[in-house]
Symmetry: C4
Subunit: 305 residues, 4 copies
């Protein structure tokens, strides 16, 4: 066992030893209570970080619901409230009210249908104002989604313990999944596991901590030597200690000129002992190609002892 200083992560000391700090997608495994009900920033944050399909679905749904609601209000304004509307049946009236609502909120305003009564004039005014705020909001959300500088790093599904020089090493393979350029990429790792009553977080020294361009794949190497918290530990020890390797990556995103962070973790059962990564780089006609699909390809090797 080595004597490196325990690292303070911010998760406290009384955390259950079965706890996983960081989920595979990099999110932190903590729930929070007691937050205020109306939290515009967190709503914005959610709409910025969800997937595109969910985002477009939520936007379209909100659009439909708001128009459905306004259609209902116009509907109850009664006959003659809006010009040219078909008042022959309630269903037709509702649908025409719905389309009038859409023409108002999008500011298309063809004008065939237009408000006649004072009530519909007021409501359509309010609706067009809400429409403007909505357009402003969607513009901000779309821009926010695109301009938010996040590193999208593809980490290998499994980490490996593999022969390295005269000993062994813990290795993880990663690559930039985006077309943005990541420069000055830097990785830090630590091992968290339970020992006796408590849990320790020990830094893992890397063979190469920083590279200038994250243009290809990067196999991050932690040599298991006398300075490593891994020294002397077996696959069984790791399981017993509910071990988790946390990986933090920091880089400079050249597109938006900002520092970006990424993180992930590997639990003991996501580490393959006695395997190594195959290469995912090929060179043909002076063109270097990185194949992100092959980042997970492993082959079995004999570990040094």
């Amino acid at each position: 066992m080595n004597k490196q200083k325990n690292k303070e992560l911010g998760f406290g000391k009384n955390v259950d030893s079965n706890f996983r700090y960081i989920k595979r997608d990099g999110s932190i495994n903590v729930k929070r209570k007691g937050l205020p009900l109306f939290r515009p920033f967190d709503l914005f944050h959610m709409l910025i970080t969800i997937g595109w399909v969910q985002f477009l679905f939520l936007t379209a749904l909100s659009f439909l619901l708001i128009n459905g609601l306004f259609a209902l209000i116009y509907f109850f304004c009664g006959k003659g409230a809006i010009s040219l509307i078909d008042y022959s049946s309630p269903v037709k009236t509702y649908w025409d009210s719905f389309f009038f609502s859409i023409q108002t909120i999008t500011t298309v305003g063809y004008g065939g249908m237009r408000p006649i009564l004072l009530s519909t004039k007021i409501i359509s005014s309010v609706e067009s104002f809400i429409g403007l705020l909505g357009i402003a909001l969607v513009t901000g959300l779309l821009y926010g989604r695109f301009s938010r500088p996040v590193a999208k790093i593809k980490y290998s599904d499994l980490a490996v313990v593999t022969p390295f020089k005269t000993g062994n090493a813990f290795m993880v393979k990663l690559a930039n999944q985006r077309s943005s350029k990541l420069i000055e990429a830097e990785v830090s790792m630590f091992l968290s596991y339970s020992i006796g009553e408590g849990r320790v977080n020990l830094p893992m020294e890397l063979d190469l901590k920083k590279i200038d361009f994250l243009a290809m794949t990067w196999t991050v190497v932690h040599p298991i030597n006398e300075n490593s918290p891994w020294v002397g530990l077996t696959e069984v020890d790791m399981k017993k200690g509910n071990a988790e390797v946390v990986i933090l990556l920091k880089a400079f995103d050249d597109t938006f000129s900002q520092t970006v962070y990424s993180r992930t973790s590997y639990k003991y059962d996501e580490v393959q002992w006695g395997a190594k990564f195959k290469t995912s780089i090929s060179t043909e006609n002076n063109q270097v190609t990185v194949d992100l699909d092959r980042i997970d390809e492993l082959e079995v090797v004999e570990l040094n002892t």
Copy 2:
């Protein structure tokens, strides 16, 4: 009394000793005169930083006022200025002018009402141009409000002096109130109090200055030992010296990839001597939960002497 170097805050030396540097909400307690009257940036800054209710109220109010004003101008353009307007009574004419104004500024333009005279054609052109600028402005304001990277930290209402190891410590509890991730959080503290004629600002060393993730609550601990400016001072001394503890927090906001700052202060009467924070973290079924409502819960303890 220790010999640590006085810290220069930027508040000068001739400040009244009853002065509070930093208000609880983190704003700086200084008024400024002699500013130019027309300050677009400060107006923008205000509209970005006020609460949501005020912001929406101000936006709606401006919208109503501008339209009320344009309605007045259309009203005075006289009969026949706008098609389809009800000229049977001044009130009706004004209201129709008002709705025409709204249909113009929002660019809805149904077209039932449309400018007939040269005067109203010119005015409605100007108004639609102003409408575009207004939409642009509101878009910028909404985006600015959301994307502005601010740490929203919940600090405990009271700080405590509590037993710590063989002595005592000054402690403050804090948590991130937002769903954005704060990483590499760092806190610095200093004690400001009056001694003789002058006022000193002395740094307070922390047991743990930096954590990797501000995911749970963080109890920041200043041990009262021989290096502490608190050593030998009693609750009464603190009151006499009009003591204020200023707290600065710096972290990296993972959502917008920017460094954010937060600050607050505790005056001598916001420090509870002989109390400690109860835990606000619970673990159930491998799920760690932080309860922000319980951040202020204290229990009485006996201080070490």
Copy 3:
């Protein structure tokens, strides 16, 4: 004369000794030739950095010119090209075309006037597309103008040489002119003057280089001691050497969480020898007030020799 290392500014060595590096407003005194003709970014940069009056004037002018041009095109499409247009006189036709153009580009589209011929249908389609791009552009410009993080620092009109401790000091007074909070403000200064054939740039050490909050005024002090490039130099020497003091300020803007820079310079004839700054801070009823109008107030003092 001291032996401090010459600082490399980036202005080269063959610069005329009458040259002023930095203008009072902080801009760099260099002209550039050979730039490409079409430079969208520089145009954007200009529209972001000019004053509000110029910006609004340019925006309104562009709006008028574009519509004037489209009006001309519609005009030449001939009679019956657009419905409801007054074809009784060329002037009336042009004006109606002009208003149709505005209703199209702003997307108001009342619809009384609408394109009838194929030619006007095509042109109005193009115009409405240009309108959308224009709205997008103005939105970006407005947001860019507001969100661009710039320190707006008010520097005292004159610098002073004033008694300080047992010797003298060169002093400049400055304050934040905006309501945004500037924290961790840091100043560096150097003296540039001609000696013999060449020109030297020598750093000037400051009594206090950094403050936590730029909340009040800050009098930056360079003591004229044996380490100072000023030592032994008189007002006459400064004039002979065409001396210029360049001041660089760096701070963290709390509103947009970004580092901002400001700079200015004082030529030899903007330095008052034997004067000191009056205070511009007053405390009443526990409220500290900074008066930016009084930042330039000086009083005559006797220098130490």
Copy 4:
């Protein structure tokens, strides 16, 4: 041969020795496979980084295609689907449908043509919603294009090897091509060449690594002395080793207050041995002028041996 430490760039070790790391425009010479098909961020990134002509062309093309498609849908809704449309011939019907589509998506909505059937009411509602999203997207793209902080550095076409002091030096000339101010500019260089089986990347020390203002041209100088990886190497050796000099520039952009990066590389055949840069700075009437067109002007000189 010197003993400087090999620099790790992130390109791996098995790269073909004919490979060029960095293209002249600063892009990294690596292709990537295995990316997901739908990558909104990369699309955004592309639309942000392509030239203005391509961007406007793609925007206009998308606009035409979307409207062409919707016109087709309206066309197949049959006679009477939209008011006022010319149904006398399929071509005329299609064109009128096309213009109706444009009037809908731009939210102009004159209203002469308006949806009559339920089908066209639904389709035009969808189209106006898509229009809003499109406007939001274009706004974000335009702002993103302008506000993205990139250094646009003009590097001399050729690097030179030129006499310097008692020896020689490798020199590159560069200038800021934009009107934005670049401050605290910093350059690092390294030489990459093949030796035996492998390829080494050796840092090149610079005479001046950092300047305060990149206001004029900057000739970056690497003296070829005993610490230089160039020492003892001839033009022929450079060709044999397929040498490449990679240049990284980092500066602070004063307009958007962000750190920006630029890079380029010179292959062995882009280095002129025995030449020096002519000056491109002139001073007239106290006005310093930099001529970017003359940055490439060379004159032949004799090298020191």
